[in-house]
């Protein structure tokens, strides 16, 4: 895509946003839609702004930043555990066809189960504090990362594997120099989805049973028929997702810089 096309794309992107938000605002002001249910962009944006800028504006006795921090902690906890165990299990089963065959039916069943229904189970087991949210986020993240790590290990190029063997690699060295980097592209691309799911786990967990966090704020606002509060919570969630997504992209570029080089080489081939 050349520069002028790219510029046109950005202009159109902004245009779509303006039309959507502006249309919403106008429709709500003229009562074409009921602001009681749909709120109004100017109203929920103002609400979010007050949360963020007025230190005295408390939600359940705490500032919005406290709730934000709680949700981020739950997300990070579930993500970290999910990635660690997912990569570990993916590697272990990817390297062993026997154990992979043994566990296969259980993994299939657990993966097919809609994990959000586990939320009540985690609340019963772990209480309504952060641990039940971390567990829910973990259950969502684990399988995504596991399947990707598993495939990454299984689909490693046989030539490269044999080459490393001939150069003198032990099994441990193979894992470090060949399997891990090969699986890394798969794992990192799964991370985009995994981060999103970690946030889903944290927020849904809070929404169902909690005393703090963004999900709790939304749930409270909903209970009070406060549409502006619900949308303001969603707006802040969106902002969080964008920031986290940028972080993952940055990490991806750092960890698989060779892949970026390869993509760039493909791109360069096409352009000449």
């Amino acid at each position: 895509m050349n520069n002028s096309r790219r510029g046109a794309a950005v202009v159109l992107q902004v245009f779509i946003l303006v039309v959507f938000i502006g249309g919403w605002e106008i429709a709500a002001r003229n009562r074409w839609i009921d602001p009681f249910f749909f709120s109004q962009p100017s109203m929920f944006a103002a609400r979010a702004w007050r949360w963020l800028t007025e230190p005295g504006f408390l939600l359940g006795g705490r500032t919005i930043y406290h709730h934000l921090l709680v949700t981020m902690e739950e997300m990070a906890g579930g993500l970290t555990l999910g990635v660690a165990f997912g990569v570990g299990a993916g590697f272990a089963l990817g390297r062993s066809p026997f154990w992979s065959a043994v566990f296969n039916p259980y993994i299939q069943v657990l993966n097919a189960l809609p994990r959000l229904v586990l939320a009540p189970v985690f609340v019963l087991l772990l209480g309504i504090d952060e641990r039940s949210k971390i567990a829910l986020a973990f259950s969502l993240v684990f399988f995504i990362v596991f399947f990707n790590a598993y495939r990454g290990v299984r689909e490693v190029d046989r030539n490269i594997l044999n080459n490393a063997r001939m150069l003198g690699a032990s099994e441990k060295q193979l894992a470090w120099h060949v399997l891990l980097p090969s699986a890394m592209t798969w794992i990192l691309s799964s991370l985009h989805t995994a981060v999103g799911f970690a946030l889903v786990g944290a927020v849904i967990g809070e929404y169902m049973a909690a005393a703090q966090g963004l999900g709790w704020i939304i749930s409270q606002a909903e209970g009070n028929f406060d549409a502006a509060g619900v949308y303001a919570g969603l707006l802040i969630l969106c902002a969080v997702v964008v920031v986290v997504e940028l972080g993952v992209t940055w990490l991806e570029r750092r960890l698989v810089s060779w892949k970026v080089a390869a993509d760039y080489a493909d791109y360069a081939d096409l352009s000449v």
Binding site: N162, N163, M166, L167, G168, H177, W258, K259, A262, A265
Partner: protein, 256 residues
Amino acid sequence: MPEISLSSIGVTYSGHPALDDVSFEIPRGQFVSVVGPTGSGKSSILNVVAGLLKPTAGQVFSRGSQLTSINRDAAYMFQHDALLPWKTCLENVLLGPILRGKARFQAAKEAHLWLERVGLRGYEDRYPSQLSGGQRKRVAMAQALINRPPILLMDESFSALDVQTRALMEDKLLELWHELRATVLFVTHDLEEAIAMADRVLLLTAGPHARIKADYPIQLPRPRNIAEARFIPGFAEIYEAVWHSLKEEVMTTYEQ
């Protein structure tokens, strides 16, 4: 004591016999080409000597001891790209010494030297994807030879290259072979290349049940310039003899 020795090797792939009763010995420092029609199990022989493939019958000896796992005395240049795409040229080349327990500093020093040797000075920090096919082969050559292997196995390593690049690589290989005094097993489908490079050409019959059909000594003078090898007196006669025999096997393969 021969450097490589195969006695009555048989290889069967899930019930399909590929090699049958293959025996030969290679003395130290000899350059041996292996030719044969497609599907005759040329690569299987290399993989058996490399220790990557367990023969279903017979025994392999490498430098006097029977082979039971990966052959630590052998380096292997594969037909297809086998460089690690996530490592730079330098990291690819220094991998061998590192894997065998050398200090990184020492390994990097050697790797710099080898990259220079294959004419890739200044390419240390490039990734394989940023190189041409010929450059990648040169990195692979440095990677394979940096461990100074007594045995070098090559599986149609130059087949994907254009004619000029290929001639340069062949000359480079002969130069390094001469210097390292390595024993080379060189699989190729190109008869001219096979004869021009080697001290000896092994001809396989058509598969399945492939076996050694003939064993030609190549007594052309060295050093040889590969691009002009076919003008060496005596070359044409050898070529004709081997080709005549190879043609029969190729025809058998086609008729199957």
